[in-house]
């Protein structure tokens, strides 16, 4: 994209009592994109979002929104909306009052308010629920009220903090699609925090993977999956995650490197023709395929996929093979070496 980024973070750091919050966060987020901040809990993704929203102030660095320095601006001066994990709906106000709360605060005329409310409820499929209190709605409906409240103001930037984590698995799937469609239709920029890689990989244009307050990799879902920057990314992304092998057990890679390989790139071959002989430690039937976990000295997380239902008894030995072009090579510190 050639347009100037709508959000820029420059070397942002936030620490609590000298302890690590986030460090050296630098990000450019283009307008109209869908960016996911992904990582295990405690990695600083929510902190990054709250710094962006103005709910926390950074100790170092700069935050620019729309080219304007907002590092120390109040949350309301940043022209953004936010969906909270808990939805943060006002329990004593009806759906309609919740949605137009911000418009009322900004003294938007009543007629305009009604029009925007109608449109927001239409988009989120909440027409007819105007007078219900949040307590009278299901989890999915409450989530949609939170979405309606975020889009009603028409801000170009919307922050979402794990908006799906309180929904059950089936609903999560459909709301995921709804949010993605909403973002495209409205052409807004969404920054989305999640610990669920399926959400991040399926919705986002750009995924920002974080760990211990540092960004590990920024890239498209394909980048993260196919070209992981380091062994953490390799092991975090994908189900099953990438298997890591010590280079000493393979020929031609030296002794101090780490080799990564994905399950779909491993083939089972007849005995004697493989590059490694492994012991089966578990078989997991996934429906379309069966995941077979393998043990071998110097490996972690090694597994192979077989189509359909084909359980292999524990303790059996099988030979596996793979092509060198499918291998990911990391140096001793875990950083990617090959392109």
């Amino acid at each position: 994209m050639t347009t100037a980024p709508i959000v820029e973070l420059k070397d942002v750091a936030k620490r609590w009592n000298g302890q690590l919050g986030v460090e050296e966060i630098s990000l450019d987020i283009p307008e109209g994109s869908f960016t996911a901040l992904l990582g295990p809990s405690g990695c600083g993704k929510s902190t990054t979002l709250r710094l962006l929203a103005g709910l926390e102030l950074p100790d170092e660095g700069k935050i620019l929104i729309d080219g304007k320095d907002v590092t120390t601006s109040a949350a309301s001066d940043r022209n953004l909306s936010m969906v909270f994990q808990s939805y943060a709906l006002f329990p004593h106000l009806s759906v309609a009052e919740n949605v137009v709360f911000g418009l009322k605060v900004r003294r938007v005329p009543k007629k305009e308010r009604q029009e925007k409310l109608h449109r927001a409820l239409e988009i989120t499929g909440l027409l007819g629920y105007e007078d219900r209190k949040p307590g009278e709605l299901s989890g999915g409906q409450r989530q949609r009220v939170a979405l309606a409240r975020a889009i009603v103001a028409g801000q170009r930037l919307c922050l979402m903090d794990e908006p799906l984590s309180n929904l059950d698995a089936k609903l999560r799937n459909s709301v995921r699609k709804d949010i993605k469609k909403l973002q495209r239709d409205l052409g807004i920029t969404v920054i989305y925090v999640t610990h669920d890689q399926t959400e991040a990989m399926s919705m986002a244009d750009t995924v920002v993977l974080m760990k211990d307050g540092h960004i590990q990799q920024v890239g498209t879902p394909d980048d993260l999956y196919s070209r992981p920057n380091n062994t953490f990314v390799a092991e975090f992304v994908g189900a099953p995650p990438m298997a890591l092998l010590k280079s000493s057990i393979l020929d031609g890679f030296g002794g101090d490197k780490t080799i990564g390989i994905r399950a779909e790139n491993i083939q089972i071959v007849p005995k004697g023709e493989g590059r490694m002989r492994c012991t089966v430690n578990e078989s997991e039937f996934l429906g379309a395929e069966t995941l077979i976990g393998l043990d071998h000295e110097g490996t972690a997380g090694l597994c192979v996929l077989k189509p359909g239902l084909s359980m292999v008894a524990e303790g059996n030995e099988i030979d596996i093979s793979f092509n060198d072009e499918n291998l990911h090579v990391f140096d001793a510190a875990g950083q990617r070496l090959t392109g």
């Binding site: 909306s81 006002f90 605060v105």
Partner: protein
Amino acid sequence: MSAHANLERRRQAIYGWLLLSPAAVLLTVFAFYPSIATLWSSLFSRNTRRNPTEFVGTENYADLFADPTFWLVVKNNLFYAGITIPVSIFIALSMALWANSKISARGFVRTAYFTPTVLPMIAAANLWLFFYTPGLGVLDQIGSVFGLPSVNWLGQPETALWAIIIVTIWKEAGFFMIFYLAALQTIPEDLKEAADIEGTSRWTYTRRIVLPLLMPTTLFIAVNAMINSVKLIDHLFILTKGGPSDASKLILYYIWEMAFAFFDAPHAAAITVLVIAVLGIVAAVQFLYLDRRTHYQ
């Protein structure tokens, strides 16, 4: 229905009644029976050596309505309630909002506010006696620094009731603050954040979000404050004894005087019945009217 299910239902019913009975017995002996006995005795004349008790119907009530002191006491008590209830609620809420915010020495502030509640009313009254005493009292000492004349706060009809009112507010506000503090803790932090992002001012947030969410607490406190405005008279015994010239006399004190100073039990009973009736009606209105406008979480 099978015999088995019937038996089980009976067993549950007996179980329920057994659980209820201790409270029912206590309330009957100490609340319901005395109320009815009071109503009954308010309908009889006073027992003197020359005139034995006889049924007089509503004559005791008629006497009261003709008694100017009764109306003065009613007026005093309405004024007392009209000031103490809203002011102590307002102060309690303000203190709670402050003590709930992120200030340093928060624990100290909370304890300090709560201290008056821990003191017995008699002790509190003695403390305030020390403040109010003309010449020696703290108020006069401070006043004299600025060259103000000595004021007998408790000794003149214009100020006596006000002096009583201030002690009551001082005593009650800290107690009510604790309820507000507890209620404030149940309001999730992210409501404030959501409001912040919308650009809500502190005042709008308090008025549109916090106060409505505190309504159940306010209702509870209002009912309690109303009951206290009739019930809480211990400090009168220490500070003014209802004087001067009945300027600070409240209904319950008047009842006590009637019954145990003038030994006029029937008239005391008649006032008591009136008080119970009024309190009952006001509490019912408060609950029925405000309940509908209150959001319970």
